[in-house]
Symmetry: C2
Subunit: 410 residues, 2 copies
C-alpha cells in the first residue's frame, strides 16, 4: 500500500463534487402527531374552504346591514332578538326585517345576515336589541373561503414542519402527511487507540469521541445515525465494517490518520468503489476522503473524516452537513439559517494557501477564536460556532466583522 | 357566572408575574446516547487528564531534543531507529543517546523522548534516521493534561447538549449524565365547534388546530406535551379535564372565547385555585388567563390561551415559551437565540394603547407583516416569525429596521 500522496483539492471544487453526487430521497406517510421537524414531501392543497362557512369575527348581533342604516348613539334602532348562536351551533332562524340573532365569535352566520354589530355598540332590553351604530354589509364577518379557497396551495413540498405549519395542516383535517424519510447514516470510528466509555484507559488509549459527536451531528441534519463499535485501523476490519453497513445511504468514518493508516481507508474504498476526493486544501481536515460504493440503486456515499475530534466536526459542518440536509429534504434550511455577523475579538493570522475553519466562542456581539490544536477537547466544550477564512486571506484584524456559522444542533 | 370585566394588564407586568412563578426542575440520569438537545443538570469536571498521556501531534520521530541540536539540511544527524509506535501502542523502549522511535499522530511518547521531529524533516536509511532539523523540547507534543487538567470544570449545569458538547463528555468516558427532566405540559383545546381530523365537518364546525400547534410548540421548548381530546365549553367539562391532568407540571388551554365562555375557564380556575392574570393589553390575545392550581409540592401553572390559532400561538410565543424553557432548564436559550434585524416591507400602523404582536414573512432581509385577522390559517402557513410593537408606538415606517423573533421550532 505505502504512502499515497494527497492530491489536495480546493474547498470549492470539493463542494461542487459533493453537490453533483446522486441522491435518492425516500418518502413515507406518517401521522400528523409525529411530523414535528420533518420535511413535507408533497404539496398540500386546501381540501376545504377556510373558513368553511361565513362566520362572525366578533361577539355581537348578526343583522341584515340595511336594518341598521341610520342607527346612531342618539337614534338607536331596535331589533327583535330571535336566537342565540354560539360557536358550534347551527343557526335555525332567519334574520333581517327587524330581527337579529345574538352571535359569538367564530359562530356561523344565520340566513339573512350579512354583518355583525359588535356587542359594545348595542344594548339589550328584554328581547329587543338597541343598535347604536350602522354597519356596512360584510362588517365583522369572515366569509367562507376568504382566508383560502378550496383547492388552493396551502403548503409546498420541502416545507419544514414547525408548529405553525403543522397547525395549518390541522386546519384542513388531514391526519397523515407524506414526508421525506430520514436518510440512514452509518457512523464508524476507527482507531487502535480508541476505547468505549466506562472502560479503564490503558496507557496510550483514548475514549472514542467521534462516534457521539458525529452521530449527534447527523441527528441535527434530520438523519438517523447507526453507530458501530470502534474499528481497528486495518484493511480487513475497515472493509468488513463497511460491508456491514451496505444498507445505509451514507457511511461516515473518522480516524485512521495515524502514520500510513490514512491510506488503508483509501485502499478499501478504491477496492470497493471509487475515491472522488482525498485531501482538501483546508485546515483542519486536510486528509479528508470522499468516495462512492456501488449499490443496486444509487451509490452509497462515503465520507472519511479525520480522526481528531475538532477536525472531524469541522469537516462535517463545512462539507457534509449540507449534503445530509439536502438528502433529508430540508431544502429551505440554508436560506433560513442565520449567519451571525460578529466582531472578531483579536487579530487572526492564517497560513497562506489553505482555507481555515476556525471555532469561536460567542459573547454578546464578539466572537473569540479558539486557538487550540485539533486534538483539544476543550475547544468542543467552549465552541458556539465557526467562521471560514478563505485561502487568499492572511490576516483579519481585531474588531473586523466576521460571519459566524452556528454549529449544528443549536 | 355572568360577564367578568377583564382587568387588562400591561405585557411587562404579566411577564413579571410569570417570572415570579415557582417552578420545580426535576432531574434524571440518562445514557449519553440519548442526550441530544437535552440540558445538563450537573457541572461536569474532567475525571482524567486531557490528553491522558504525552502524545505526538505529528507523524515523525520521537527524540530527545538535545540529540538533534545542530542538525540542518547540510549537516544531518543520524539516529538509530529502535521501535515503531502507532496510536494505541504502548512504547517499550527508551529513546535518547542517539536513539529514536518512529511515532504516529496521537501515539504515546516513549520514555526519554521530549519532542517529535516531523517526518518531512527526516530521511530513513535502513535502521538509521537522518534528522535535518533541530527541535526544542516540547516540539510537536501535546503534553498530558495540557488541554485540561484532571479535576477542572469541563461543562456547566445548564449547557444545551449539542453534538460538540456531547463529544466533550465522551472524551472523559462518561456514559450517563444528569439532565433536567422534560416538564409535562397538558394541552387542552376547548370549543363546541371543534372536531378532530378526518371527520366530516358539519355546518358551523371547524377542525381543531390548537392541539397540534401548541403541542408542537411545547415540544420545541423541551417539554413533553400531553394532548387531550377536545373539550366542550362548559364548566363541568373543563373542570373534569383539568382534574384529569393534575399530574402535569403545566396546563395550557385554548379557546372558550365565544360569547361569555371565556368566563367559564375563569370560574373553573377561581374555584380550583387562583387567577393571577385575566386580560393582557396586547393584540392579538387580550382575553388570556393565567392561574395556579394548588398541588402537593409546587402549584400547577395554567395558561388559558385565546381560541383563534394565530392568537393562541402568538401568546404562547410571547408569554409562555420562555417560561417553559426555563422550567426545562434551557437557561442559555435566550441569549443565544438570534433576533433577526430586518427591514419592514411597508408602513405599519398600530392602534394606540395596546402592544401588537405581528406575524411576518421573511424574504432576504425584508420582513412583510401578515395583515390578516387572528382566525386566518394562511397566516400560519406563511409566517416565519413575528415582531413586537410597543403600546406607545403608533407607526413604523417602510424600510425601518425591526427585530424579528423566529417562531419556535425552526
Amino acid at each position: 500500500m505505502g504512502n499515497v500522496f494527497l492530491n489536495l483539492m480546493d474547498p470549492d471544487e470539493v463542494k461542487e463534487i459533493i453537490e453533483s453526487l446522486n441522491i435518492r430521497r425516500k418518502i413515507e406517510k406518517i401521522p400528523l402527531s409525529d411530523v414535528y421537524q420533518r420535511v413535507l414531501a408533497e404539496d398540500i392543497y386546501a381540501s376545504i374552504n377556510l373558513p368553511p362557512f361565513d362566520r362572525s369575527s366578533m361577539d355581537g348581533y348578526a343583522v341584515s346591514a340595511k336594518d341598521t342604516f341610520g342607527a346612531s348613539e342618539d337614534n338607536p334602532i331596535s331589533l327583535a332578538l330571535i336566537e342565540k348562536i354560539g360557536a358550534g351551533d347551527v343557526p335555525l332562524k332567519k334574520v333581517g326585517q327587524g330581527r337579529c340573532s345574538e352571535i359569538g365569535t367564530g359562530a356561523p352566520l344565520p340566513e339573512g345576515a350579512d354583518s355583525v354589530v359588535m356587542v359594545e355598540f348595542t344594548d339589550i332590553k328584554e328581547d329587543n336589541v338597541q343598535i347604536y351604530e350602522a354597519v356596512a354589509p360584510g362588517t365583522n364577518i369572515a366569509a367562507r373561503g376568504s382566508d383560502m379557497e378550496k383547492g388552493r396551495l396551502l403548503l409546498s413540498r420541502g416545507t419544514l414542519l414547525t408548529p405553525d405549519k403543522i397547525g395549518a395542516i390541522s386546519a384542513i383535517g388531514m391526519s397523515e402527511v407524506l414526508v421525506f424519510a430520514k436518510p440512514i447514516v452509518a457512523v464508524i470510528s476507527t482507531g487502535n487507540e480508541l476505547v468505549k466509555p466506562d472502560q479503564e484507559l490503558r496507557y496510550g488509549q483514548l475514549y472514542d469521541i467521534n462516534s457521539e459527536t458525529i452521530s449527534n451531528a447527523v441527528k441535527s441534519c434530520g438523519c438517523i445515525p447507526l453507530s458501530s463499535n470502534i474499528v481497528k485501523d486495518d484493511y480487513n476490519s475497515i472493509m468488513d465494517k463497511i460491508n456491514e453497513f451496505r444498507n445505509a445511504d451514507v457511511i461516515i468514518t473518522s480516524g485512521g490518520t495515524s502514520a500510513g493508516a490514512g491510506d488503508v481507508l483509501r485502499q478499501v474504498v478504491e477496492d470497493m468503489g471509487r475515491v472522488l476526493v482525498h485531501g482538501i486544501s483546508v485546515k483542519p481536515g486536510k486528509p479528508t476522503l470522499i468516495g462512492t460504493l456501488p449499490d443496486e440503486n444509487v451509490d452509497i456515499i462515503l465520507f472519511g473524516l479525520p480522526g481528531y475530534p475538532v477536525s472531524a466536526l469541522m469537516i462535517f459542518e463545512a462539507f457534509v452537513s449540507q449534503f445530509l440536509r439536502e438528502m433529508a429534504g430540508v431544502l429551505e434550511y440554508n436560506e433560513k439559517k442565520e449567519l451571525r455577523v460578529l466582531k472578531l475579538s483579536r487579530r487572526y493570522h492564517s497560513a497562506r494557501g489553505r482555507s481555515h475553519l476556525v471555532l469561536v466562542k460567542i459573547e454578546g456581539d464578539v466572537a473569540s477564536p479558539i486557538l487550540k490544536d485539533s486534538g483539544a477537547i476543550t475547544a468542543l466544550a467552549e465552541a458556539d460556532g465557526y467562521f471560514e477564512v478563505p485561502k487568499n486571506v492572511e490576516i483579519i484584524e481585531k474588531d473586523e466583522k466576521i460571519k459566524v456559522i452556528p454549529l449544528s444542533g443549536f
